[in-house]
Amino acid sequence: MASSAAVLEDGSLLSRLDGQLLRLEQLLALVSGLAVFSLMVLAVVSVGGRNTVNAPLPGYVDWIEQVMPLIAFMGISYVQRDGGHIRMDILIGSLRGRALWLFELISVLIILLLMMALVYGSWSHFDRSFDFAAPLWSRDSSIDISLPIWPAKLLVPVAFSVLCLRLVLQAWGYGRAMILGLKHPVAVPLIQSAAAQAAAEAEQLSEAGNGAQKD
């Protein structure tokens, strides 16, 4: 059950930091989207080249494999900001007030711990493929046209670090809500009822669907 939810804002420091980080996250998510678009372009170039001048894109598969991390990781923090990562909220949805915030806080702290570990782990994965002394700094290359792989591997710890920042803000937001006993805390995604959430989702889709029609 995707629990995409609303995030409230006010003029507080926390909320302003949330806004700043959101701008970065949106930019990264857009990079992700443009990378999806580039898959389409790669295919058009390769198929077009093959069928017109018998020149498919050299290393087509290598290029796709390089683009995939851009698509998969850059938006991870943006999705976490809106609470868009899938979870089962039957149980957690029945909690209210401090109990709910405590629960969310614990959950965010576990994720933060995990992601800090993975920043280290993915950095070391990058580090093994990187060598200042080697041509193109490359110590790991793709199978077909020997593209250096370290840039793609570097994306992972970078995206995960942004997610860690986001998780720190959310921990702050939930912690604050728990201590102060807030009803509508800022800078954290609030659970909507399944129905309200479905309405929001459908709203967004049908807006999209009507967006460009000429009628």
Partner: protein, 467 residues
């Protein structure tokens, strides 16, 4: 403690976290990381001074997984299929399709409902996601049905059920995910979804016509469209057919013996055609930008579950739990078919509470090898197998069955997501209304699944043609 015991403990711990409401991707990844640390520390004999080493090795092993698993050409189909779906909204293809279906086939009893099923099936051929499909048709089709006096619950049920077609009829994000987990040919799996998808649609249509004939006031036919009007509705809907033809022909060409390219290329070119359509229909940068952002969001969400679960799967590899589970399954003294039915029923129960993608990712790494072992192994010949099909064909058949189960769960209470979506779109409908309306389809799906189990050739006909 033996690695397999560690595997069971950690798996239990993960399920507790998931049920408690931890985000699935991170619950799986944390469980995987904890499991790896446990396994390595156990290997070092739990020596206190070796804990740091176990920790470092585990974190480095887990840290490899995201990049390693995600940079795969086969997975590139997922974002492509999602992009096609979003661009199709912008191109206004959805409405055009419903309009054409209405003018051509609404004269049948329950005509508008039948048109809805056909239009949804058509849209399913460019959309990879069920929930989005239901949401769109709830807006387009329900008002028209209500306007001519359809039963409200029935109309809602039609849309909720028809939305599930999107994950069987190619392209389908969920079938791609299945193919990746079980390491089978994506193209053949997509192809295999086609007939069961169409078959489900026909079962739905038969049911609708039956209901409309039997209960006169449920869904009156719509007549009076002239042939001229019918043909006028076609051009706007044609691009869908064009895209479908492109994708199908890149996977397997039914018109000759040569396909046009590879499935990866087909998906990407399909997206390009829809993109051109959307541009032609006046899409601006702002709209393209939000389509790209929405695509990125959904893609990232799916990929995060994928690598999260794969960290857990990497741990399972070190614990050899899949091996142990399939040894256990094959040692049971029950007929393989009965065991398979039990597995499918277990999916039905699990699916009541879980999201389809999360459910498949969490269970398949353990269940799939067991099912393959049940049939006689990955490379078994049809003649020596338990289900009368080769290993490859069994993988395809089981994939379609599991995906159909997952779709079935989208319309079952208490957490049928499609039903919530339809109720959410319409202020005049409660979730209970939709669940009541979807009930007949629920039974129809049960029949469909039974038929797919009993007659595997419905699933395997097309893939076996593709060699």
């Amino acid at each position: 403690m033996e690695p397999i015991d560690i595997g069971l403990w950690v798996t239990g711990f993960m399920l507790v976290m998931v049920v408690a409401g931890m985000r699935v991707a991170f619950a799986a990844a944390s469980a995987g990381l904890i499991g790896l640390i446990w396994i390595f520390w156990a290997k070092f004999g739990y020596a206190p001074d070796k804990f740091t080493k176990a920790l470092t090795v585990s974190i480095k092993v887990a840290g490899q997984v995201p990049h390693s698993k995600v940079s795969s050409q086969a997975l590139s189909l997922i974002p492509t299929f999602i992009l096609i779906g979003y661009l199709a909204y912008y191109a206004g293809l959805t409405k055009a399709l419903f309009e054409a279906a209405k003018r051509w086939i609404a004269w049948l009893p329950g005509g508008l409902a039948v048109s809805t099923v056909f239009a949804t099936a058509g849209f399913a051929a460019v959309s990879g996601a069920s929930v989005a499909t239901s949401a769109v048709f709830a807006r387009i089709a329900i008002p028209e049905m209500l306007a001519i006096g359809y039963n409200k619950q029935f109309a809602a049920g039609v849309v909720a059920a028809a939305g599930t077609l999107a994950s069987l009829i190619p392209p389908s994000a969920i079938l791609v995910i299945y193919a990746i987990i079980v390491e089978q040919d994506v193209g053949k799996l997509l192809l295999a979804g086609f007939i069961p998808g169409a078959f489900s649609a026909i079962v739905y249509v038969t049911l609708i016509v039956g209901i409309a004939v039997f209960f006169k006031n449920v869904g009156p036919p719509v007549t009076g469209f002239t042939w001229r009007q019918r043909f006028e509705a076609l051009p706007a809907a044609l691009p869908i057919i064009f895209v479908v033809v492109i994708i199908i022909c890149f996977v397997y060409n039914p018109f000759g013996d040569e396909a046009w390219g590879t499935p990866t290329e087909g998906g990407a070119l399909g997206a390009f055609v829809v993109f051109c359509m959307a541009i032609y229909n006046g899409m601006k940068w702002e709209q393209l930008k939000s389509a790209l952002l929405e695509t990125a969001k959904l893609t990232v969400m799916i990929f995060t579950i994928i690598w999260g679960v794969l960290i857990y799967v990497r741990f399972l590899g070190f614990a050899d739990l899949p091996g142990a589970f399939s040894d256990w399954i094959t040692s049971l003294e029950m007929s393989p078919m009965l065991i398979l039915v039990c597995i499918l029923l277990a999916y039905a129960v699990l699916g009541m509470f879980m999201d389809a993608i999360g459910m498949l990712l969490l269970t398949l790494p353990v269940v799939y090898p067991a099912v393959m072992a049940l049939n006689g192994g990955e490379s078994v010949a049809a003649a020596d197998s338990a289900f009368g099909m080769s290993g490859t064909m069994c993988a395809i058949w089981f994939g379609i069955l599991v995906v159909k189960m997952a779709e079935f769960c989208l319309i079952t209470p208490p957490i049928g997501l499609n039903c919530f979506v339809v109720a959410g779109v319409r202020d005049d409908l409660t979730v209970q209304d939709v669940f009541r309306g979807v009930m007949p389809f629920f039974i129809a799906d049960g029949v469909t699944i039974a038929l797919l189990v009993a007659f595997p050739s419905i699933v395997l006909y097309l893939p076996s043609l593709a060699g």
